[in-house]
Structures are given as structure tokens and as C-alpha cells.
């Protein structure tokens, strides 16, 4: 099975964003907006954290 770390992180972010967006807001429009914000934060935050950790060798 071929699976990239980035791809799995994006799928994970998508699931979590959909659930939290639905849970935290009542109107579908607000749910979509909040979910999109969460998704962006997850993906951008994950990539940023990945680059920060890149400079710390194991």
C-alpha cells in the first residue's frame, strides 16, 4: 500500500475538521467556514511544525 505522510495528514485533518465544524457551529454556512478554517490551520500548522522539526536532528 502506498501512503504518503502528507496525504494521511491531510485526510486526518479533513475528518477532524468536518466533525469539529459540525459540532461547534449550528448553521451549515458557519460549519463550512469554521471547518475550512480548522482544516487550513491543521495543514499549514502541520507543515510548519514539520519544517521546524527538520532543523532538530534525531
Amino acid at each position: 500500500m502506498r501512503a504518503s505522510h502528507l496525504g494521511l495528514m491531510i485526510v486526518f485533518a479533513l475528518f477532524v475538521s468536518v466533525v469539529f465544524g459540525t459540532l461547534m457551529r449550528d448553521e451549515p454556512r458557519e460549519q463550512l467556514r469554521f471547518g475550512a478554517q480548522l482544516f487550513t490551520a491543521f495543514v499549514v500548522g502541520g507543515i510548519a511544525l514539520g519544517w521546524i522539526l527538520y532543523f532538530f536532528p534525531l
Binding site: 500500500m1 501512503a3 494521511l8 485526510v11 486526518f12 475528518f15 477532524v16 468536518v18 466533525v19 469539529f20 459540525t22 459540532l23 451549515p28
Partner: protein, 131 residues
């Protein structure tokens, strides 16, 4: 006065039944409470995330009191409800530690269970009339 107490008891039983349904089948609590859009979203998303975790060769942890972290992971896994026991009885979720996606699978399984617990709490609030 007696009728009021009986009403309260009935209401409490109803609330706990809603929570039980919400835990057993993700989204069922919201569907029973008439929140169709939310219920359907949870009904599709959470089991799909759980199935994704199994597909990624994650492990359904056993309850081992001697290993607190494993026991906590097991509790989180069980948060998804009936799907956990179906997967367990079907022999899924053995977890292959050497698989590239093992840790991702665990993350998907555990987070799906934990998010369903939040969904149960939300259903509880809705049933109590707080939301």
C-alpha cells in the same frame, strides 16, 4: 409534586437513552433529537474515520490495567461504540507494528473514538435543552 418527580425521572432516562444511542451508533443521538444534518454528518464521518484507521493497520488496544496507556487507548477506541466490538469480533484491528501506517492507523482509531465521545456530550446538552 409526585408527577413532577416522575416527569424528571422520565426525562433523565430519556436523556441517558439518547446518550447510549449516540455512543453505540455515531450520530444516532442527534438524529433522534431531530438534528438530522449533524446526525448524518457524524454517522458518515466517524465510522469512515474508524474504518480508515483499520485499513491503515492500526490496533484496537486491549484493556490492560497493568499498562495504563494501553488501557486509556482501549477506552478511546471503545468511544466509537458498536463498531469497535464488531471489528474486534471480526478479527480486525490486530495492528501490524512494522506497517508504515501503523501509528497513523492508531491515531485515526483513537481520535474517531474520542470525537464520538464529544458527540455524545453534545447530544446530552441538546437533550437537556442547553443548546
Amino acid at each position: 409534586m409526585r408527577a413532577t418527580t416522575a416527569d424528571r425521572e422520565q426525562s433523565a432516562i430519556y436523556t441517558y437513552l439518547i446518550c447510549l444511542a449516540a455512543w453505540a451508533i455515531p450520530g444516532a443521538g442527534h438524529l433522534l433529537l431531530g438534528r438530522i444534518q449533524k446526525g448524518l454528518t457524524f454517522l458518515i464521518t466517524l465510522p469512515l474515520m474508524f474504518a480508515f484507521g483499520l485499513w491503515l493497520e492500526g490496533r484496537l488496544f486491549p484493556v490492560e490495567i497493568g499498562q495504563p496507556l494501553v488501557a486509556l487507548a482501549a477506552l478511546a477506541d471503545m468511544g466509537i461504540g458498536v463498531a469497535f466490538f464488531i471489528a474486534r469480533s471480526a478479527g480486525a484491528g490486530a495492528g501490524r507494528v512494522v506497517a508504515l501506517t501503523y501509528e497513523y492507523g492508531n491515531a485515526f482509531l483513537i481520535v474517531a473514538g474520542l470525537m464520538n465521545m464529544l458527540v455524545v456530550l453534545d447530544a446530552f446538552d441538546v437533550a437537556q435543552g442547553r443548546k
